[in-house]
Protein backbone atom coordinates (compact mmCIF):
# COMPACT_ATOMS: atom_id res chain seq x y z
CA UNK A 1 0.00 0.00 0.00
CA UNK A 2 2.82 2.33 0.88
CA UNK A 3 6.52 1.85 0.74
CA UNK A 4 9.18 4.38 1.54
CA UNK A 5 12.88 4.09 1.15
CA UNK A 6 15.55 6.16 2.82
CA UNK A 7 13.19 9.00 3.39
CA UNK A 8 14.52 12.02 5.18
CA UNK A 9 13.72 15.67 5.57
CA UNK A 10 15.92 18.70 6.00
CA UNK A 11 15.14 21.89 7.81
CA UNK A 12 17.57 24.75 7.74
CA UNK A 13 19.69 22.43 5.66
CA UNK A 14 19.96 19.91 8.48
CA UNK A 15 18.37 16.49 8.83
CA UNK A 16 15.42 16.32 11.17
CA UNK A 17 15.54 12.53 11.49
CA UNK A 18 17.75 9.78 10.22
CA UNK A 19 16.56 8.14 6.97
CA UNK A 20 13.74 5.62 7.42
CA UNK A 21 12.44 2.88 5.17
CA UNK A 22 9.45 0.62 5.54
CA UNK A 23 6.75 -1.20 3.65
CA UNK A 24 3.16 -1.14 4.72
CA UNK A 25 0.72 -3.70 3.41
CA UNK A 26 -3.05 -3.65 3.51
CA UNK A 27 -4.49 -4.54 6.89
CA UNK A 28 -1.47 -3.57 8.93
CA UNK A 29 -0.75 -0.93 11.53
CA UNK A 30 2.56 0.85 11.82
CA UNK A 31 3.49 2.60 15.02
CA UNK A 32 6.01 5.42 14.76
CA UNK A 33 7.69 5.86 18.10
CA UNK A 34 10.45 8.06 19.40
CA UNK A 35 11.11 10.59 22.07
CA UNK A 36 9.78 14.14 22.05
CA UNK A 37 11.02 16.13 19.12
CA UNK A 38 12.50 13.27 17.16
CA UNK A 39 10.41 14.10 14.10
CA UNK A 40 7.30 11.92 14.24
CA UNK A 41 4.94 14.71 13.28
CA UNK A 42 7.32 15.77 10.54
CA UNK A 43 7.37 12.25 9.10
CA UNK A 44 3.61 12.03 9.06
CA UNK A 45 3.31 15.37 7.31
CA UNK A 46 5.79 14.19 4.74
CA UNK A 47 3.76 11.08 4.09
CA UNK A 48 0.61 13.16 3.82
CA UNK A 49 2.26 15.32 1.19
CA UNK A 50 2.24 18.51 3.23
CA UNK A 51 6.01 18.66 3.22
CA UNK A 52 8.43 17.64 0.54
CA UNK A 53 11.08 15.04 1.21
CA UNK A 54 14.62 16.20 0.67
CA UNK A 55 15.89 12.69 0.01
CA UNK A 56 14.40 9.28 -0.53
CA UNK A 57 11.15 8.30 -2.11
CA UNK A 58 7.56 7.57 -1.25
CA UNK A 59 5.74 5.01 -3.34
CA UNK A 60 2.05 5.03 -2.76
CA UNK A 61 -1.02 4.68 -4.80
CA UNK A 62 -3.26 5.82 -1.99
CA UNK A 63 -4.60 9.21 -1.16
CA UNK A 64 -4.20 9.27 2.61
CA UNK A 65 -6.35 10.63 5.39
CA UNK A 66 -4.33 12.75 7.80
CA UNK A 67 -5.48 13.67 11.29
CA UNK A 68 -2.94 15.82 13.08
CA UNK A 69 -2.81 18.04 16.13
CA UNK A 70 -4.87 20.66 14.40
CA UNK A 71 -8.51 19.59 14.51
CA UNK A 72 -9.94 21.54 11.54
CA UNK A 73 -13.00 22.55 13.52
CA UNK A 74 -14.63 25.90 12.84
CA UNK A 75 -15.18 27.76 16.08
CA UNK A 76 -18.43 29.31 14.97
CA UNK A 77 -20.13 26.22 13.65
CA UNK A 78 -21.74 23.56 15.77
CA UNK A 79 -20.27 20.09 15.94
CA UNK A 80 -22.99 18.85 13.63
CA UNK A 81 -22.45 21.60 11.07
CA UNK A 82 -18.73 20.98 11.15
CA UNK A 83 -19.09 17.31 10.48
CA UNK A 84 -21.72 17.86 7.84
CA UNK A 85 -19.43 20.28 6.01
CA UNK A 86 -16.58 17.83 5.89
CA UNK A 87 -18.90 15.10 4.71
CA UNK A 88 -20.04 17.28 1.83
CA UNK A 89 -16.59 18.52 1.01
CA UNK A 90 -14.71 15.26 1.13
CA UNK A 91 -17.41 12.87 0.11
CA UNK A 92 -18.46 9.86 2.13
CA UNK A 93 -18.19 6.14 1.96
CA UNK A 94 -21.91 5.70 1.54
CA UNK A 95 -23.57 7.62 -1.24
CA UNK A 96 -25.95 9.12 1.26
CA UNK A 97 -24.58 12.30 2.80
CA UNK A 98 -27.74 13.14 4.59
CA UNK A 99 -28.71 13.85 8.13
CA UNK A 100 -28.96 10.25 9.29
CA UNK A 101 -25.36 9.45 8.43
CA UNK A 102 -24.22 12.56 10.24
CA UNK A 103 -26.30 11.71 13.30
CA UNK A 104 -24.91 8.23 13.26
CA UNK A 105 -21.33 9.46 13.10
CA UNK A 106 -21.89 11.86 15.98
CA UNK A 107 -23.48 9.12 18.03
CA UNK A 108 -20.68 6.70 17.33
CA UNK A 109 -17.93 9.17 18.20
CA UNK A 110 -19.70 10.05 21.45
CA UNK A 111 -20.56 13.68 20.84
CA UNK A 112 -24.36 13.50 20.95
CA UNK A 113 -24.67 15.66 24.08
CA UNK A 114 -22.71 18.48 22.49
CA UNK A 115 -23.88 18.05 18.88
CA UNK A 116 -25.40 21.52 18.82
CA UNK A 117 -22.64 23.25 20.74
CA UNK A 118 -20.29 25.61 18.92
CA UNK A 119 -16.78 24.45 18.10
CA UNK A 120 -15.15 27.03 20.34
CA UNK A 121 -16.80 25.70 23.46
CA UNK A 122 -15.61 22.11 23.16
CA UNK A 123 -13.30 20.66 25.77
CA UNK A 124 -9.94 19.26 24.72
CA UNK A 125 -11.23 15.70 24.47
CA UNK A 126 -14.42 16.64 22.66
CA UNK A 127 -12.34 18.55 20.17
CA UNK A 128 -10.18 15.51 19.55
CA UNK A 129 -13.23 13.32 19.06
CA UNK A 130 -14.71 15.77 16.61
CA UNK A 131 -11.55 15.72 14.53
CA UNK A 132 -11.52 11.92 14.61
CA UNK A 133 -15.09 11.80 13.32
CA UNK A 134 -13.62 11.95 9.84
CA UNK A 135 -12.39 8.39 10.28
CA UNK A 136 -15.97 7.23 10.35
CA UNK A 137 -17.17 8.54 7.04
CA UNK A 138 -14.12 8.89 4.86
CA UNK A 139 -13.26 6.29 2.34
CA UNK A 140 -9.48 6.56 2.31
CA UNK A 141 -7.66 3.28 2.83
CA UNK A 142 -4.54 4.77 4.38
CA UNK A 143 -4.82 6.65 7.67
CA UNK A 144 -2.13 8.86 9.12
CA UNK A 145 -2.91 9.58 12.75
CA UNK A 146 -0.74 11.89 14.84
CA UNK A 147 -1.11 10.98 18.50
CA UNK A 148 -4.73 10.05 18.19
CA UNK A 149 -5.01 9.03 21.84
CA UNK A 150 -3.97 12.30 23.38
CA UNK A 151 -6.72 14.02 25.37
CA UNK A 152 -9.10 11.07 24.98
CA UNK A 153 -10.57 9.48 28.09
CA UNK A 154 -10.56 5.71 28.63
CA UNK A 155 -13.84 5.26 26.90
CA UNK A 156 -12.56 7.27 23.95
CA UNK A 157 -9.47 5.12 23.68
CA UNK A 158 -11.56 1.96 23.55
CA UNK A 159 -13.74 3.55 20.93
CA UNK A 160 -10.77 4.51 18.78
CA UNK A 161 -9.31 1.02 19.03
CA UNK A 162 -12.63 -0.37 17.85
CA UNK A 163 -12.76 1.97 14.87
CA UNK A 164 -9.20 1.08 14.00
CA UNK A 165 -9.92 -2.63 14.18
CA UNK A 166 -12.83 -2.29 11.76
CA UNK A 167 -10.68 -0.31 9.39
CA UNK A 168 -7.83 -2.80 9.40
CA UNK A 169 -10.15 -5.75 9.06
CA UNK A 170 -11.64 -4.13 5.99
CA UNK A 171 -8.20 -4.06 4.37
CA UNK A 172 -7.19 -0.54 5.36
CA UNK A 173 -3.84 0.46 6.77
CA UNK A 174 -2.78 2.97 9.38
CA UNK A 175 0.35 4.76 10.46
CA UNK A 176 0.18 6.19 13.93
CA UNK A 177 2.63 8.15 16.04
CA UNK A 178 3.03 7.89 19.76
CA UNK A 179 5.73 8.76 22.27
CA UNK A 180 5.27 5.44 23.84
CA UNK A 181 3.14 5.95 26.89
CA UNK A 182 -0.14 5.31 25.11
CA UNK A 183 -0.31 2.62 22.48
CA UNK A 184 -3.02 0.69 20.68
CA UNK A 185 -3.82 -2.54 22.43
CA UNK A 186 -4.66 -5.90 20.96
CA UNK A 187 -3.17 -5.22 17.56
CA UNK A 188 -0.44 -6.86 15.63
CA UNK A 189 1.82 -4.01 14.77
CA UNK A 190 4.99 -3.03 13.04
CA UNK A 191 7.06 -0.47 14.82
CA UNK A 192 9.33 2.18 13.39
CA UNK A 193 11.56 3.88 15.89
CA UNK A 194 12.63 7.30 14.71
CA UNK A 195 16.03 8.68 15.59
CA UNK A 196 16.39 12.42 15.52
CA UNK A 197 19.18 13.76 13.34
CA UNK A 198 20.51 15.71 16.28
CA UNK A 199 20.60 12.72 18.58
CA UNK A 200 22.82 10.86 16.20
CA UNK A 201 25.60 13.36 16.50
CA UNK A 202 25.27 14.55 20.05
CA UNK A 203 24.19 11.34 21.66
CA UNK A 204 21.72 13.15 23.90
CA UNK A 205 17.98 12.82 23.84
CA UNK A 206 16.22 15.82 22.30
Amino acid sequence: MLSISDLCFERYFERVFEPVSFDLSAGSLLLVTGSNGCGKTTLLRLLAGLLEASEGEIHSREHPLYAGHNPAIKDDLSVEENIRFWMKFMGTRETNTGTELCQQVIEEIGLTPVALQEGRTLSAGQRKRCSLARLLFCDEALWLLDEPYSNLDREGIVMLDRILKTHLDAGGACIMTTHGSLRPEGFELQECHLISGREKYSGTAA
Binding site: A48, L50, Y66, N70, P71, K74, E81, G91, E140
Partner: protein
Protein backbone atom coordinates in the same frame (compact mmCIF):
# COMPACT_ATOMS: atom_id res chain seq x y z
CA UNK B 1 -11.49 6.79 -2.99
CA UNK B 2 -14.75 8.67 -3.14
CA UNK B 3 -13.36 12.02 -4.26
CA UNK B 4 -16.21 14.48 -4.17
CA UNK B 5 -17.08 16.22 -7.41
CA UNK B 6 -15.62 19.71 -7.69
CA UNK B 7 -19.04 21.29 -8.02
CA UNK B 8 -20.40 19.76 -4.84
CA UNK B 9 -17.28 20.68 -2.90
CA UNK B 10 -17.41 24.24 -4.21
CA UNK B 11 -21.06 24.51 -3.20
CA UNK B 12 -20.37 23.05 0.23
CA UNK B 13 -17.61 25.58 0.78
CA UNK B 14 -19.71 28.52 -0.31
CA UNK B 15 -22.55 27.30 1.88
CA UNK B 16 -20.26 27.02 4.84
CA UNK B 17 -18.91 30.51 4.26
CA UNK B 18 -22.39 31.98 4.20
CA UNK B 19 -23.30 30.05 7.32
CA UNK B 20 -20.21 31.42 9.04
CA UNK B 21 -21.00 34.91 7.88
CA UNK B 22 -24.54 34.51 9.12
CA UNK B 23 -23.33 33.27 12.51
CA UNK B 24 -21.26 36.41 12.84
CA UNK B 25 -23.74 38.65 11.12
CA UNK B 26 -22.88 41.52 13.40
CA UNK B 27 -19.45 41.45 11.83
CA UNK B 28 -20.93 41.88 8.39
CA UNK B 29 -21.62 45.47 9.28
CA UNK B 30 -18.05 46.17 10.22
CA UNK B 31 -16.59 46.89 6.78
CA UNK B 32 -19.51 49.22 6.23
CA UNK B 33 -19.08 51.08 9.43
CA UNK B 34 -15.34 51.20 8.89
CA UNK B 35 -15.96 52.78 5.53
CA UNK B 36 -18.33 55.31 7.07
CA UNK B 37 -15.93 56.16 9.85
CA UNK B 38 -12.90 56.55 7.62
CA UNK B 39 -14.81 58.66 5.15
CA UNK B 40 -15.95 60.83 8.02
CA UNK B 41 -12.39 61.43 9.08
CA UNK B 42 -11.68 63.36 5.90
CA UNK B 43 -14.03 66.27 6.33
CA UNK B 44 -12.67 66.44 9.88
CA UNK B 45 -9.08 66.32 8.75
CA UNK B 46 -9.10 68.56 5.69
CA UNK B 47 -11.83 70.95 6.63
CA UNK B 48 -15.47 71.16 5.60
CA UNK B 49 -15.21 73.24 2.40
CA UNK B 50 -17.73 71.63 -0.02
CA UNK B 51 -15.69 72.52 -3.07
CA UNK B 52 -12.55 70.90 -1.72
CA UNK B 53 -14.48 67.83 -0.61
CA UNK B 54 -16.13 67.44 -4.01
CA UNK B 55 -12.69 67.62 -5.58
CA UNK B 56 -11.26 64.84 -3.49
CA UNK B 57 -14.45 62.78 -3.18
CA UNK B 58 -13.73 60.02 -5.74
CA UNK B 59 -10.22 59.57 -4.40
CA UNK B 60 -11.32 59.46 -0.79
CA UNK B 61 -14.14 57.01 -1.40
CA UNK B 62 -11.93 54.71 -3.39
CA UNK B 63 -9.07 54.90 -0.92
CA UNK B 64 -11.45 54.09 1.90
CA UNK B 65 -12.69 51.12 -0.10
CA UNK B 66 -9.11 49.94 -0.56
CA UNK B 67 -8.46 50.26 3.16
CA UNK B 68 -11.65 48.47 4.11
CA UNK B 69 -10.82 45.64 1.72
CA UNK B 70 -7.27 45.27 2.92
CA UNK B 71 -8.38 45.19 6.52
CA UNK B 72 -10.76 42.34 5.82
CA UNK B 73 -8.26 40.43 3.69
CA UNK B 74 -6.17 39.33 6.59
CA UNK B 75 -8.91 37.07 7.84
CA UNK B 76 -9.65 35.65 4.40
CA UNK B 77 -7.64 32.48 4.89
CA UNK B 78 -6.31 32.96 8.38
CA UNK B 79 -8.97 31.20 10.37
CA UNK B 80 -8.97 28.25 7.98
CA UNK B 81 -5.22 28.12 8.23
CA UNK B 82 -5.02 28.30 11.98
CA UNK B 83 -7.57 25.66 12.78
CA UNK B 84 -6.16 23.22 10.23
CA UNK B 85 -9.09 23.41 7.81
CA UNK B 86 -6.89 24.59 4.97
CA UNK B 87 -4.55 21.67 5.48
CA UNK B 88 -7.43 19.24 5.23
CA UNK B 89 -8.80 20.98 2.18
CA UNK B 90 -5.48 20.72 0.40
CA UNK B 91 -5.20 17.06 1.33
CA UNK B 92 -8.73 16.37 0.14
CA UNK B 93 -7.41 16.54 -3.40
CA UNK B 94 -9.84 19.20 -4.52
CA UNK B 95 -8.45 21.86 -6.81
CA UNK B 96 -6.85 24.51 -4.68
CA UNK B 97 -7.61 27.18 -7.24
CA UNK B 98 -11.28 26.36 -6.92
CA UNK B 99 -11.07 26.64 -3.15
CA UNK B 100 -9.31 29.98 -3.52
CA UNK B 101 -11.93 31.20 -5.95
CA UNK B 102 -14.76 30.14 -3.68
CA UNK B 103 -13.26 31.98 -0.72
CA UNK B 104 -12.71 35.03 -2.90
CA UNK B 105 -16.29 35.03 -4.10
CA UNK B 106 -17.50 34.78 -0.53
CA UNK B 107 -15.15 37.58 0.45
CA UNK B 108 -16.44 39.87 -2.24
CA UNK B 109 -20.04 39.16 -1.32
CA UNK B 110 -19.52 40.04 2.32
CA UNK B 111 -16.88 42.76 1.98
CA UNK B 112 -17.01 44.17 -1.54
CA UNK B 113 -20.69 44.25 -2.34
CA UNK B 114 -21.59 46.23 0.79
CA UNK B 115 -19.10 48.88 -0.25
CA UNK B 116 -20.85 49.20 -3.58
CA UNK B 117 -24.21 49.47 -1.87
CA UNK B 118 -23.02 52.09 0.54
CA UNK B 119 -21.21 54.26 -1.97
CA UNK B 120 -24.16 56.53 -2.87
CA UNK B 121 -24.39 57.64 0.72
CA UNK B 122 -20.68 58.36 0.89
CA UNK B 123 -20.83 60.29 -2.37
CA UNK B 124 -23.63 62.38 -0.97
CA UNK B 125 -21.62 63.12 2.15
CA UNK B 126 -18.60 64.12 0.20
CA UNK B 127 -20.55 66.43 -2.09
CA UNK B 128 -19.77 64.45 -5.20
CA UNK B 129 -21.70 66.08 -8.09
CA UNK B 130 -24.59 63.95 -9.28
CA UNK B 131 -23.13 63.25 -12.71
CA UNK B 132 -20.33 61.35 -11.03
CA UNK B 133 -22.59 59.09 -8.98
CA UNK B 134 -23.46 56.42 -11.50
CA UNK B 135 -19.88 56.17 -12.72
CA UNK B 136 -18.66 55.85 -9.16
CA UNK B 137 -21.01 52.93 -8.62
CA UNK B 138 -20.04 51.34 -11.90
CA UNK B 139 -16.36 51.69 -11.11
CA UNK B 140 -16.92 50.05 -7.75
CA UNK B 141 -18.95 47.22 -9.26
CA UNK B 142 -16.13 46.43 -11.66
CA UNK B 143 -13.31 47.30 -9.30
CA UNK B 144 -14.12 45.70 -5.96
CA UNK B 145 -14.01 42.12 -7.32
CA UNK B 146 -10.54 42.89 -8.61
CA UNK B 147 -9.59 44.12 -5.16
CA UNK B 148 -10.74 40.83 -3.68
CA UNK B 149 -9.04 38.74 -6.34
CA UNK B 150 -5.67 40.45 -6.13
CA UNK B 151 -5.92 40.80 -2.39
CA UNK B 152 -6.47 37.08 -2.02
CA UNK B 153 -2.97 36.50 -3.36
CA UNK B 154 -1.55 38.68 -0.64
CA UNK B 155 -3.77 37.09 1.98
CA UNK B 156 -2.58 33.64 0.96
CA UNK B 157 1.07 34.65 0.97
CA UNK B 158 0.91 36.05 4.49
CA UNK B 159 -1.44 33.55 6.06
CA UNK B 160 1.27 31.61 7.84
CA UNK B 161 2.78 34.74 9.37
CA UNK B 162 1.73 35.86 12.79
CA UNK B 163 1.28 39.52 12.12
CA UNK B 164 0.41 39.63 8.48
CA UNK B 165 -1.76 42.75 8.56
CA UNK B 166 0.67 45.48 7.68
CA UNK B 167 2.82 43.34 5.46
CA UNK B 168 -0.31 42.46 3.54
CA UNK B 169 -1.08 46.09 2.91
CA UNK B 170 2.46 46.68 1.74
CA UNK B 171 2.12 43.82 -0.73
CA UNK B 172 -1.24 44.65 -2.19
CA UNK B 173 -1.49 48.45 -2.22
CA UNK B 174 1.10 48.86 -4.98
CA UNK B 175 -0.85 46.33 -7.02
CA UNK B 176 -4.02 48.37 -6.49
CA UNK B 177 -2.50 51.53 -7.92
CA UNK B 178 -3.70 51.12 -11.52
CA UNK B 179 -7.22 50.39 -10.35
CA UNK B 180 -7.29 53.43 -8.11
CA UNK B 181 -6.05 55.67 -10.88
CA UNK B 182 -8.44 54.34 -13.49
CA UNK B 183 -11.45 54.46 -11.23
CA UNK B 184 -10.91 57.93 -9.85
CA UNK B 185 -10.07 59.32 -13.23
CA UNK B 186 -13.24 57.79 -14.68
CA UNK B 187 -15.32 59.52 -12.02
CA UNK B 188 -13.53 62.85 -12.34
CA UNK B 189 -13.81 62.71 -16.13
CA UNK B 190 -17.52 62.10 -15.98
CA UNK B 191 -17.91 65.02 -13.57
CA UNK B 192 -15.89 67.20 -15.92
CA UNK B 193 -18.00 66.04 -18.85
CA UNK B 194 -15.15 64.15 -20.48
CA UNK B 195 -15.37 60.59 -21.87
CA UNK B 196 -14.79 57.85 -19.34
CA UNK B 197 -15.64 54.60 -21.11
CA UNK B 198 -11.97 54.01 -21.86
CA UNK B 199 -11.11 53.76 -18.18
CA UNK B 200 -14.07 51.55 -17.38
CA UNK B 201 -13.18 49.32 -20.31
CA UNK B 202 -9.64 48.92 -19.05
CA UNK B 203 -10.93 48.12 -15.59
CA UNK B 204 -13.19 45.50 -17.05
CA UNK B 205 -10.28 43.98 -18.91
CA UNK B 206 -8.43 43.92 -15.62
CA UNK B 207 -11.35 42.12 -14.01
CA UNK B 208 -11.31 39.41 -16.66
CA UNK B 209 -7.55 39.00 -16.35
CA UNK B 210 -7.67 38.86 -12.56
CA UNK B 211 -10.51 36.38 -12.65
CA UNK B 212 -8.56 33.98 -14.79
CA UNK B 213 -5.10 34.39 -13.26
CA UNK B 214 -5.48 35.36 -9.61
CA UNK B 215 -7.03 32.11 -8.33
CA UNK B 216 -4.03 30.17 -9.59
CA UNK B 217 -1.56 32.56 -7.99
CA UNK B 218 -3.58 32.35 -4.79
CA UNK B 219 -3.53 28.57 -4.93
CA UNK B 220 0.24 28.57 -5.39
CA UNK B 221 0.62 30.92 -2.45
CA UNK B 222 -1.59 28.76 -0.25
CA UNK B 223 0.33 25.63 -1.13
CA UNK B 224 3.50 27.44 -0.24
CA UNK B 225 2.21 28.73 3.06
CA UNK B 226 1.24 25.25 4.12
CA UNK B 227 4.60 23.64 3.43
Amino acid sequence: MSRQSAGTAFAALLRRDFLLAYRRRAELLQPLVFLLVVTTLFPLGVGPSPQLLANIAPGVIWISALLATVLSLDSLFRSDYEDGTLEQMVLSGQSLALIALSRTVAHWLVAGLPIVLLSPLLALWMNLPEEGMSILIKSLVIGTPVLSLIGAIGGALTVSLKRGGQLLSLLVFPLYVPLLILATSAVSSSVAGLPYTGQLGLMFAGLIAALTLAPFATAAALKLSLS
